[in-house]
């Protein structure tokens, strides 16, 4: 397995290098943006001397490489810095918000991909039938609406008119105090707030895995081994299981990227449902030039994509030995 070991080491080093590159790129990008967090205070009428003092206090008047070095050394010690706008450590500010977004997006996207793979397999296996041609159109149709509009429709119909679910928020105000931080996530109250945002995520993204899986299934159905299975008289259910297994690689590849993108894209759904996630906080942070927060959140999302691509590559290397050879 030495070639496999080599493959892991090479790809691992590449991954670490990419992470560093992204970290640096984000640093440079946000420092070169027009204005800093004092811009809005200037608009509010703060004096020029007070702003200069504030910039000096936060080290914004020093050369870029000094700031960069401080940023990297702090980061190495696990210090993410402080939000100059909210005056709290970045980690304190983002941790619960990120968790709230993650707990909405990760299960919803996983469910979306499983359901999409199922829809893709069913529609793709009936080649040339009405089901293949028309079955996918409702899925694409729903996915063509902007996420915020889907969410608004869900709120108006199921919360306001039918009164089945709460219109917004993650937990009812004035709920019972729980001792642990994860306690609220296990209550029925959370569950009932969870249904509509979850549905919105599924509706918005379902067409992606469905279409990719359908195309992939159509391709695999045309290959010789499928025909062989048909000739051996294997029942249709078993045959579809074989096909789905072969056809699932493209869907698997795009899953982590899709998940990471949804972490950013869910901001629209969070806004409509007033979900206390990172999405809306990020929009506010960008507009308020709160760089430490923005930089960290962007880095987490980017790192998520990079690391999961690394894991998918490894998985590929295990499944298909030809890929281990350096590209």
């Amino acid at each position: 397995m030495s070639s496999m070991k080599r493959y892991v080491v090479v790809r691992g080093l590449q991954t670490i290098f990419t992470l560093w590159l992204v970290l640096t790129a984000l640093f440079v990008m946000f420092r070169s943006m027009p204005g800093d967090f004092t811009s809005q205070m200037a608009v509010a009428g703060a004096s020029e001397e007070a702003l200069a003092a504030l910039r000096a206090q936060w080290g914004l008047d020093e050369p870029l490489y000094v700031q960069y070095w401080r940023y990297i050394t702090n980061l190495a010690q696990g210090n993410l810095g402080e939000s100059p706008v909210y005056r709290v450590p970045v980690w304190e500010f983002v941790k619960m918000r990120m968790f709230n977004t993650f707990i909405l997006v990760a299960p919803a996207m996983t469910f979306t991909y499983l359901l999409g793979a199922l829809i893709g397999t069913i529609t793709g296996s009936k080649r040339g039938s009405r089901l293949e041609k028309l079955g996918i159109i409702p899925v694409i149709g729903v996915g063509s609406f902007p996420a915020f509009f889907l969410s608004i429709v869900l709120v108006v119909v199921f919360a306001s008119w039918l009164n089945l679910f709460p219109t917004s928020g993650m937990l009812s105000a004035g709920g019972t105090e729980l001792e642990t931080w994860w306690g609220p996530y296990l209550t029925a109250d959370f569950g009932i707030h969870y249904v509509l945002p979850f549905t919105a995520v599924v509706c918005r993204y379902l067409f992606i895995p469905s279409l990719i899986m359908r195309t992939s299934v159509v391709e695999v159905m045309g290959q010789d081994h499928t025909e062989y299975h048909r000739l051996t008289g294997l029942p249709i259910g078993n045959r579809l299981r074989h096909v789905a297994k072969h056809a699932s690689l493209p869907v698997l590849t795009i899953y982590p990227v899709s998940l990471a993108r949804a972490l950013g894209g869910v901001v629209l759904i969070e806004t409509v449902f007033n979900w206390p996630g990172i999405g809306y906080a990020l929009v506010e942070a960008v507009l308020g030039r709160d760089y430490p927060v923005v930089q960290f959140v962007f880095f987490v999302v980017a790192a998520f994509v990079i690391i999961s691509n690394f894991l998918v590559d490894l998985l590929y290397g295990v499944i298909d030995p030809r890929i281990r050879v350096e590209d």
Partner: protein
């Protein structure tokens, strides 16, 4: 030199023969092929209809978009349900929804065409350059594409808008600067294939310049795929612009359909005055769906080989 003049004189004949020009012939042939397919034709006519609405919509609007409507008794028609005078009802401030919808068609069409055009131009340029030039240029361009590919769309769009300044046109520019990524990948792959064909090698052997080969041989052969990405780009641009508008980072003064939904949502009268946000939302959805389905139908017709580009197109 009278003989030469005689050759270049008959301009009228050249004009008559314009229908024989290969570009016109291909265009007409392609259009006919597309319109013969019933589904693709249907989506095509929907898109033509919406574009037409973008041109004439503001002229058809029965009222001004900021003209407060009054009832017969002189009260402001605030969030009035659909009636004969106001077929789509009125907004909370008493504006006519139908008028705003008709006027809002224009910014939406402009967003689609400009955004789609930018996506097409940047994506095709990067794809062809990377595919044809190869070497280090290709590596750098494709690593850059990979980077843009992993970027979360909406947060990054907002960052770029703060760079360029909030506005209608800057939001379109931002869309173009991000969404070219899917097209660049596929067009590069196509260029790599075309580069291997004998006619390109022959052209190179006879001393054709790089520019000539790209314009005369590569471009016409990637054009169908580029048009497919134009169709998708139009849809994605409209969707993303509406999303940025909804978050309040595109101009709220351009009365697009996205602004209508944002206003309805912010008013807090969403559930009571459902007619306010329903029609703009439906129109955005139908437009995006039509571009997508038209693009797919078109791609089905033009690609003989079943090379799958699904992963790069769907997840743009």
């Amino acid at each position: 030199m009278p003989a030469r003049d005689a050759v270049s004189l008959p301009n009228t004949e050249a004009f008559e023969n314009i229908a024989d020009h290969h570009i016109v012939r291909n265009f007409v042939g392609g259009l006919r092929m597309m319109l013969n397919d019933r589904t693709t034709a249907a989506y095509f006519w929907i898109l033509v209809g919406i574009t037409f609405l973008g041109v004439v919509g503001p002229m058809l609007a029965p009222y001004g978009i900021e003209q407060t409507q009054y009832s017969e008794t002189g009260q402001i028609l605030s969030a009035a349900p659909p009636s004969i005078n106001h077929p789509l009802g009125t907004t909370f401030a008493g504006y006519d929804v139908l008028s705003r919808l008709l006027v809002g068609a224009r910014p939406t069409v402009i967003t689609g065409l400009l955004g789609g055009g930018l996506i097409l131009t940047i994506g095709t340029s990067i794809g062809i350059t990377a595919g044809y030039v190869g070497g280090r240029t290709e590596t750098i361009l494709m690593r850059f594409t990979d980077f843009v590919y992993g970027v979360p769309l909406i947060p990054f769009g907002i960052v770029m808008i703060t760079f360029l300044g909030v506005g209608f046109l800057s939001s379109i520019l931002v869309i173009g600067l991000i969404l070219w990524r899917g097209g660049a990948r596929v067009i590069r792959a196509q260029t790599l294939q075309i580069k291997q064909y004998p006619f390109v090698k022959v052209a190179k052997a006879t001393g054709a310049s790089r520019r000539r080969i790209i314009i005369k041989h590569i471009l016409p052969n990637v054009a169908p795929m580029a048009i497919f990405f134009l169709a998708l780009g139009v849809g994605y641009a409209i969707m993303l612009q509406a999303s940025l508008t909804f978050l309040g980072v595109a101009s709220p003064f351009t009365p697009s359909w996205g602004v209508m939904i944002r206003n309805a949502f912010n008013s807090g009268y969403m559930s009571q005055a459902w007619w306010w946000s329903l029609t703009p939302g439906l129109l955005i959805g139908i437009t995006v769906l039509s571009t997508f389905m038209f693009g797919r139908g078109y791609e089905d017709l033009i690609t003989a080989d079943s090379e799958s580009v699904e992963a790069d197109t769907v997840a743009a």
